[in-house]
Symmetry: C2
Subunit: 225 residues, 2 copies
DNA sequence: CGATCCTTTGAAGGACGTCAAGGTCTGTGG
DNA sequence: CCACAGACCTTGACGTCCTTCAAAGGATCG
């Protein structure tokens, strides 16, 4: 059973003005809030009151079946915007993977801004399209790729998004498994296999710090990545 | 090998004016074209020149890996709009499942209309969001549901979209399999199982015509459908 | 009415899931 | 500083669901 006994989430209570910039990610900093590791930021089907951008940390967005099976739709890293909805409610639950600080703005003010500024409106469409494209690629992964191919694709994605071959994974093997539609053991075995094949290495004494030794060889494990 | 030897696709060469209505699907009829069963309408990564709406027939949109594994991202039925892109190129290949007639409009004219009409712009965002929501639900299906659950969810979707418990499936078992991330045999077995359980029945002498006898029982096979 | 395609069903195999054990690291308190 | 608990990761053994391979029976169409 997955009954939530008490709602321990906190909401910020100060909000100022908000705007967009032409920076890589267009939301301007405003109010911010910090969530401890594992804390829920918003729940599926809850009213979408805020839009979030990550200042520091990482977030997982997921759906869950009634018996507890979980599918993580996306990980959100530094500077990523999440929680943006066109409809009234959130379609995912969002949780902090590690201690995470976010900027946030009210959804309604974003909406009213979009109503008066076509550039913002276009920006919303562009962001939604980016999310759609990610989901489309992920459907191919979930429907048709093997365990090793999925893990390879995941590492390539993390390498690309962090812009570094030294990938620091904030999420656990279980999170990765629920993102890739696998068991955590299958993820562990696939990582081990890639390690044995000389594609990657571990840094330090934890398994969360990975260095990709041979990106092209990693690509060879992911068909049409 | 999946090399396409010749490009036999045809393009319409007449285009008139185009607009939007407030009908369930907002594209107004204009130029139209008919594709024979199995013909490609556009290919992945091709320039997105047109946007399509189905007048009659059905279309599959898919991605394919280099070794031929295929993932169908969506089926498009009567009145559905597909091929709408924000970027320059198509992200899927689209093929006619059966003989299909589509209305079409030039992408650039739609773009210019959106630039001057905020309502159209909102409509584009709404359609993109609908596609995103479908993809998000499909990720959960592909990542975490069993074969019977996937097939049940598929039949529920078809029942909903056709608005009838008498579901006429234009697509083959292989198409369904590639939509659900299964083998065609697994689909066949799951349908047989649902038939034995009294959830559905076949009409006529083909297996493409299905009547759903007990929708609530069908729902019981799909957790959180 | 034969050729082809599609579907079903059975049998065997394999990839991944489940269960279990053991190891490492971290944090906490004695 | 060390003992201990807990969280997390790895690895092995085994089970199972789905895939693959194969065969046979329609259905469709020229």
């Amino acid at each position: 059973m997955f009954v939530r006994t008490t709602d321990q989430r906190l909401r910020p209570n100060t909000l100022g003005d908000l705007g967009f910039t032409s920076a890589p990610h267009p939301m301007v900093k405003l109010s911010e809030f910090t969530y401890r590791k594992g804390k829920e930021i918003f729940g599926e089907k809850e009213p979408a009151e805020y839009v979030y951008q990550i200042k520091r940390g990482a977030v997982r967005s997921y759906k869950m079946l009634s018996d507890g099976r979980r599918q993580i739709g996306a990980f959100h890293l530094k500077d990523d915007i999440f929680g943006l909805e066109n409809g009234a409610n959130h379609r995912f639950t969002a949780e902090a993977v590690v201690q995470t600080t976010v900027y946030l703005m009210k959804r309604v003010s974003l909406q009213s801004m979009a109503d008066t500024d076509a550039a913002i409106s276009r920006n919303l469409l562009t962001m939604t399209t980016a999310n759609l494209e990610h989901a489309e690629n992920h459907m191919l992964l979930l429907g048709r790729k093997t365990a090793v191919e999925r893990v390879a694709a995941f590492l390539i994605e993390m390498d690309r998004r962090t812009g570094s071959s030294n990938v620091s994974l904030p999420m656990s093997r279980r999170d990765i498994a629920d993102y890739l539609g696998l068991s955590l053991e299958a993820v562990s075995r696939a990582v081990s296999r890639l390690h044995c094949e000389g594609v990657l290495n571990f840094i330090g004494n934890t398994q969360r710090e990975i260095v990709i030794l041979d990106l092209s060889k990693l690509h060879s494990f992911d068909p049409q990545g």
